[in-house]
């Protein structure tokens, strides 16, 4: 196959991708292996080939060949660190998270343990990067036979890479805690409080409190301890009360609001530019009221009334507390957690 690629270049790879896309069910394991090996060299700029590979891989996941898909993705992502991600491989990403969660979690553990920042980043965007329900790990970490240091390493990576998806991070830490018996469990359990609960005292606290009340779990004492620490911390914060003297001035509030609204405007603009939906529809601004009425002349020459009632939608996101209190500290901590290597 490599000879063919050498001779005929990308065209061959495109045919391979098409074969994977169209005939995957009829391919023998040996042939599949040949194709996948060749397709590791597909160029990221060949969008058509990449899309075919993506769909083909997603079907392979459904056919129970996820392990091989995982190896393929690992290889192609590492070969193209700045250009390929689950953004291009969204179909296989979707298949992994919906059809083979166990495999997705296994990939996450292995990719985080690899210490490779690119792979960990891809996993972070796959398992944390949408507005869906948070991913909750259920993986049995004992099957990996990790040493204490390796368990701590995995837990710290979970915090580093899933920091902005705290329930996901906490669930992976809890999985780790179930497999650690030594005093290291306490160190790992501390990560639940700091930095996770310290930053996210809303949904994460509710989630962890529910786990404390839930079925028997070896990690429960650690969860309980972390929640108790958070409650003590919050009690201290609440004890201060409202200190009017610390309020920014009216002028400062105005400037900050203006700056904030400018930031939001830019984000909205960027989102609209990259939105598929916005490119399909036309935009019309309604200045007052809760609905829109318009008339269009039909084929019969008469005006037909079109009425549309407006709906509303909202989404919420909990910002990490320390982003305001110590933004530099948070940034440094994340850099450290993400980049650190496993000590020998």
């Amino acid at each position: 196959m490599s000879k063919a690629v050498e001779l005929y270049g990308e065209r061959v790879l495109h045919h391979c991708a098409s074969a994977l896309f169209s005939h995957r069910e009829h391919l023998s394991d040996a042939m599949l292996e040949v194709l996948l090996e060749a397709l590791e060299d597909v160029k990221p700029s060949n969008h058509g080939s990449i899309k075919s590979v993506d769909v083909g891989l997603s079907q392979l996941v459904k056919m129970g060949k996820g392990q091989r898909v995982s190896e393929f993705l690992e290889a192609i992502f590492q070969a193209n660190p700045d250009t390929l991600s689950f953004k291009q491989f969204d179909s296989v990403g979707h298949a992994l998270t919906t059809k083979d969660r166990a495999l997705a979690e296994d990939m996450a553990v292995r990719w985080l343990m690899s210490g490779n920042q690119e792979l960990a980043s891809h996993m972070s965007s796959l398992l944390g990067g949408s507005a869906r329900e948070p991913t909750i790990f259920e993986v049995d970490i004992s099957t990996y036979a990790l040493s204490d240091n390796e368990a701590l390493f995995l837990a710290r990576k979970a915090v580093g890479w899933f920091f902005f998806h705290p329930i996901t991070a906490a669930s992976l830490i809890i999985c780790v805690l179930r497999s650690v018996k030594s005093a290291m469990a306490e160190t790992i359990g501390d990560l639940l409080f700091e930095p996770l609960l310290l930053n996210y005292s809303g949904e994460l606290r509710d989630h962890l409190s529910a786990r404390v009340k839930g079925p028997k779990d070896r990690a429960k004492p650690h969860i309980h301890r972390a929640v108790a620490k958070l409650d003590a911390y919050l009690d201290d914060l609440r004890a201060v009360g409202f200190v009017k003297e610390l309020e920014p001035s009216e002028r400062e509030r105005l400037i900050e609001r203006k700056q904030q609204s400018e930031r939001m405007r830019q984000i909205q603009k960027q989102a609209e530019q990259s939105s598929v939906l916005m490119s399909l529809i036309s935009k019309s601004i309604i200045l007052h009221g809760n609905g829109s009425i318009s008339y269009q002349r039909g084929a019969d020459g008469k005006l037909h009334r079109h009425a549309m009632k407006m709906g509303g939608f909202s989404t919420s996101w909990e910002a990490p507390r320390l982003q305001a209190i110590d933004p530099f500290g948070v940034e440094m901590q994340l850099r450290q957690l993400r980049s650190e290597s496993l000590a020998a």
């Binding site: 911390y233 201290d236 914060l237 004890a239 201060v240 009360g241 409202f242 200190v243 009017k244 003297e245 610390l246 309020e247 920014p248 001035s249 009216e250 002028r251 400062e252 509030r253 400037i255 900050e256 700056q259 910002a319 507390r321 320390l322 982003q323 305001a324 209190i325 110590d326 933004p327 530099f328 500290g329 940034e331 440094m332």
Partner: protein, 569 residues
């Protein structure tokens, strides 16, 4: 205006407030106050004693017994602290034994002073008491809130001196006390108008200081009522500084005016402390709790938290340095020995707690915050037992600042308008970084302290930082010049010199030598009235209030030389 004054009088507490205001009011009315309230117990029921001319033209002794707010049944009778008991004590003990011999022949007027009114229920009893105890030599007067307000408006704030404009500014300052910027701006205009009014005689300057004192009281009580003393705090700093400008020519001299000037100035400083105490009661109990002060800043913006925590840092440090001043006899700050229950030790530990628990204080965002950091370092240095704390804070400050610079994070910029800071860093480019760090007073300050406190890491990092990244940055420190005495206390920005191009070396020797050389040859600092008269906290107050870098002459005595035996360990 009378309503504003009455509201103020009604909210005054008896101890250290109404009785502290009264002597100033009496002095301005021409009375000679011979006994003022001291801390501790009253003298046989008398809070203030004075000699003055009564309505009938006779000189008489006035003995004042003070109660706060309205006079109700409980305040009048039934407890040892009640007014009736005090009046009995005056009649039975004070008049026979305590009147100075030179006033023995004068008639006595016993004044019942309270900030509010007599409640109807006790009115008859009070009148009855007065009737049955009035003699040819002893009479009684009620000085209620209404009368006190009239006396203030016809005395300290009398119309010919205290013009309509001034009244308007005072009214607006009080009304806008919940918008501190606006309230402070009005108070500032009010004080400026008082100070600018022509006054050749010394006694007129003292009167001006009393006016400022009274106006500050009014603003403070309104702020306290609104549970927001931000404007009164800033106003109290300004009031002390302008009063110093008015009175420093008299302080330390001999004669009645000098004594009166000293008393008024002391009252103003005490009032500044009272305002601070009110603010501190909300802050200090929580400084040892993690993130508690940062989280209390009602804003999601890290900039607001950064600015407010540094502001609080500077205020706590300054209050601690006032305590050090009262404890020390030295002309400049010096390391002092402290015990566990020493207020200086307590406040220094609270300051350290604030730094430790609020990480914004390890990441200054504006060079202007060098003022607050300098004051904090001074308080920790004055304490004498916190050398390790100084070293570790310096290490963290320098490490984080250097890392922030390298990663285009929120490193300290020489820009200081809120507009600039809210967007800082606007760009992650070398060009912007160069522009944002054109000059620095923070880095030489840190270098000198790091050199003195053996914070080797900080010093080495700073030297590397300067050599690798900040070649373009002018490291500088502020020194007073010959115009500073005229400009420092009123906040002029047209005085002082910057010592530029300060070198930073990994041993700290070169830096120290460079700055020491200028200190030795520049005598403008020692010519400042606040320094000549031994009131060095006034210079620090001016620096904090007007955001001027703290001159090194005032803190270098706390920093051992880099090569000395006495270095911090």
């Amino acid at each position: 205006m009378k309503l504003v004054i009455k509201e103020y009088l009604a909210s005054l507490k008896e101890r250290e407030e109404l009785d502290a205001m009264l002597p100033n009011l009496l002095s301005e009315m021409g009375f000679t106050v011979y006994s003022r309230p001291g801390r501790g117990t009253r003298q046989y029921g008398v809070d203030v004693a004075a000699v003055g001319t009564a309505d009938d033209g006779q000189r008489k002794i006035y003995l004042f017994s003070v109660k706060q707010g309205d006079l109700n049944r409980q305040d009048w009778d039934g407890t040892p602290q009640a007014l009736r008991s005090s009046l009995n004590e005056i009649r039975d003990a004070y008049i026979p034994t305590c009147i100075p011999s030179e006033y023995q022949n004068l008639g006595v007027v016993i004044c019942l002073v309270f900030g509010g009114d007599i409640k109807e229920a006790v009115h008859q009893e009070v009148r009855g008491y007065i009737r049955s105890n009035t003699t040819t030599n002893v009479s009684y007067e009620e000085w209620n809130g209404d009368r006190l307000a009239d006396l203030i408006l016809s005395g300290i704030l009398r119309e010919d001196m205290f013009t309509g404009d001034m009244l308007s500014h005072l009214r607006k300052a009080a009304a806008m006390v919940e918008e501190p910027d606006i309230a402070y701006a009005h108070f500032q205009k009010l004080v400026d108008a008082i100070v600018k009014r022509p006054a050749k005689k010394q006694v007129a300057r003292i009167s001006k200081a009393r006016e400022i004192y009274m106006c500050l009281w009014v603003l403070f009580t309104w702020g306290r009522e609104a549970n927001n003393v931000e404007a009164p705090y800033r106003a109290s700093e300004y009031a002390v500084l302008r009063a110093w400008e008015l009175l420093n020519g008299m302080i330390g001299k001999k004669g009645r005016e000098a004594v009166d000037a000293g008393i008024v100035f002391n009252d103003l400083v005490e009032l500044h402390f009272a305002v601070w105490d009110e603010l501190a009661s909300k802050i200090l109990p929580h400084v040892d709790k993690r993130h508690a002060i940062s989280a209390t800043v009602p804003s999601f913006s890290s900039l607001d938290i950064n600015l407010k925590t540094h502001e609080i840092l500077g205020r706590i440090a300054l209050r601690g340095l006032w305590l050090a001043w009262t404890k020390s006899q030295s002309a400049l700050p010096e390391p002092l020995e402290t015990t566990e229950d020493d207020p200086l030790h307590v406040i220094a530990m609270q300051l350290f707690g604030l730094i430790d628990n609020n990480p914004a204080l390890q990441s200054p965002i504006s060079d202007e915050q060098a003022v607050d950091i300098a004051l904090a370092l001074m308080l920790l240095g004055v304490h004498g037992g916190l050398k390790k704390a100084i070293g570790s804070w310096l290490d963290v400050l320098v490490d984080r600042t250097y890392a922030a610079y390298r990663t285009h994070g929120a490193y300290p910029t020489c820009k200081w308008s809120y507009w600039d800071l809210v967007e800082h860093p606007t760009e992650k480019t070398d060009e912007y970084r160069k522009e944002a760090t054109g000059g620095s007073t923070l880095f030489p300050l840190l270098a000198l302290w790091a050199g003195g406190y053996r914070s080797g890491n900080a010093l080495a990092t700073l030297a590397k930082f300067k050599n690798k990244h900040l070649e373009h940055c002018n490291f500088q420190l502020w020194f007073p010049d010959s115009d500073s005495e005229a400009g420092l206390y009123q906040g002029s920005d047209r005085h002082g010199d910057m010592l530029s191009n300060i070198p930073v070396d990994a041993e700290g020797v070169e830096t120290r030598e460079y700055v020491d050389t200028e200190c030795a040859s520049n005598d403008n600092f020692s010519k400042l009235s606040a320094i000549q008269l031994g009131h060095w906290p006034i210079v620090l107050l001016a620096c904090r209030h007007y955001r001027l870098p703290v001159p090194p002459q005032i803190w270098l005595s706390l920093v051992p030389c880099a090569d000395s035996e006495d270095q911090g360990t």
